[in-house]
Symmetry: C2
Subunit: 349 residues, 2 copies
């Protein structure tokens, strides 16, 4: 493992916000992007953190992401709305959408907000967790450009579309499921490759469409549970892209350059728990259920049984205190990006 | 394979409805149960069809299911409602809930209906498909008594809680995902056992908590994708049982007889597509996406790529015409149940 520098989340957020402002976004949008990316790093989801910044800058450069989007929010009925993202970075579009969902759910009991035409959403647990912070249940799905296999086919067919559900607890951290529909993440395949390790069997296809455990040949992850993961991804595409009339999978396979352009659609849902039951009672049920799971008889008596979001919450507490570990290589990339754009580099970097 | 009798769905529905009336339900409720069970048989989901009847009768006998339930439907806000099932059979409670959801979604754009305290829901694709028949998207989840493993534990910890999503198409059948969160169904394990075959690796635990491929030792299916399937099951429990303040997992592990009593909670959601986009446009996107998936390059050129619900839809058409195949053993069980209760046995049986 290469040595790492531990950076305070304040310093990292300042650096990221400065880069996005220098790339043309408003300060408000830059702060939102910084919040979402640094949150992923704080929770240990480094694959969705500040390492994505070069990709956002590339999308701005190619005109596929819009640093000055004219985002519109249209409430369609009491419990549904659509956010037209105008190619805004995902963190900006999805934060807008979840705030809208929470606000509408207060009166309607639930709100379903569709997001049309954004780019890279980051870790979607951020947005569902946002609902949980308001004492609501948060749900989210994202549809994107195909990068995952489909049973019976040899190519990338559907996206590794994630699903996230956040549920507020009492004494325990928020129960936060944030999963892709693939067996293995593309970033994880790259890690296996860098370490010269074999992939677990049944996790990826090679370019020729056959299953492989050779990480250097693997190009397309397989869906979790075969038809189950692939089916989830397909229905997430139809929900997120069908309701926004912005189909991705279909146009991708049409083979035109426009069809292969990076873009994403999403659905965020907030459920106002207090419409059903006192939130304190709900929190107790979550706590007691988590306690019951953690007290189950263990395969390995020295191990611990974890619930969704528990590890991330611990990493967050640790990194809030001790800083976020970043490789010198990634820090160098971020410094270079800041310097190239003329963004300020905070003291100590 | 034992020889099978092919029975018209009309005759089978008449038999089932008669059995439920004789067991004490209203004719309306009996017809609803018959519709849901026979629908599963028509679509080839025989594990969730009329073979479940003895179990419902057993639940009536033990007082765990209520043949004359006082079901209440309370609209809590414009887009959320709760159905208190009073231990009604799942088909009765969930049909009531989905009709309520469709009706509320017409005005609010979406409706989320929680179902408290029902028993055996049957195949939940029936209810989400019901929303699709109204040109809406249907979503459903169910929480039940633990019968599936959880990573790191040796025992049944959470339920094989299903997820279903139905999306109306145009020329194609409704896209209908209906999946459990387990790698393998308990009924499937029994089939492997009867045929003396080994289970695929990674599909089940034996009673001692170790993984096994011996179907005669397997007692608890593993979750699909490990932490992913287990996490989905856990958040479905917290959504369905937490919002109805009727926790199942927690009380099951409390170890009291009451905690182990069979019961289920559910959530059904209807999304009115027309609030977002003309339904005809949505149907076209579904059709074009299905066409794109089916036209993908194939692993086996002689095979066909299927989308969720496609096989079930073909089986339905076939069985509507040629009848539903039932083993003599199952038919005998149903005849005996009818005779014991004094229910009429339709001519030809």
């Amino acid at each position: 493992m290469p040595p790492k520098t531990y950076l305070s989340h304040h310093v990292l957020r300042e650096l990221v916000s400065g880069i996005f402002v220098a790339a043309g976004t408003s300060r408000e949008h830059a702060d939102t992007v910084a919040d979402v990316l640094v949150w992923a790093n704080l929770r240990g989801v480094d694959s969705h953190g500040v390492s994505r910044i070069p990709r956002y800058l590339e999308l701005f450069g190619k005109g596929e992401a819009n640093p000055k989007p004219a985002i519109t929010v249209e409430q369609l009925r009491s419990a549904v709305a659509i956010v037209d993202a105008d190619a805004a970075p995902g963190p900006v579009a999805l934060t807008t959408a979840m705030h809208q969902a929470v606000s509408m759910a207060r009166s309607a009991g639930i709100a379903w907000v569709a997001v049309r035409g954004t780019v890279h959403t980051g870790a979607i647990g951020y947005y569902t967790d946002c609902a949980a912070q308001y004492g609501m249940a948060g749900l989210g799905i994202v549809a994107g450009v195909p990068n995952m296999a489909y049973p019976g086919s040899t190519k990338a067919a559907v996206a590794t579309s994630p699903l996230s559900v956040a549920l507020p607890a009492g004494k325990h951290p928020t129960v936060l499921l944030d999963m892709a529909t693939a067996v293995i993440a593309l970033g994880k395949i790259a890690q296996y490759k860098n370490q010269g390790k074999s992939l677990p069997s049944g996790s990826a296809l090679a370019a020729d469409g056959t299953e492989t455990t050779d990480a250097s040949l693997a190009t397309v992850p397989l869906p979790v549970g075969g038809a189950k993961g692939a089916g989830m991804s397909l229905v997430f595409e139809l929900l997120a892209s069908g309701l926004t009339a912005n189909p991705i999978v279909n146009s991708f396979h049409g083979g035109t350059p426009e069809g292969r352009r990076h873009r994403q659609n999403a659905v965020l849902v907030a459920v106002d728990i207090s419409a059903f039951t006192p939130v304190e009672q709900f929190r107790s049920i979550v706590d007691e259920t988590v306690d019951a799971i953690k007290a189950l008889p263990k395969t390995d008596p020295d191990s611990e049984i974890l619930v969704p979001g528990e590890r991330g919450s611990r990493t967050l507490n640790e990194r809030l205190t001790h800083g976020i570990p970043l490789t010198e290589k990634l820090l160098g990339t971020l410094r270079a990006a800041a310097e190239k754009l003329g963004a300020p580099v905070p003291a100590g970097l």
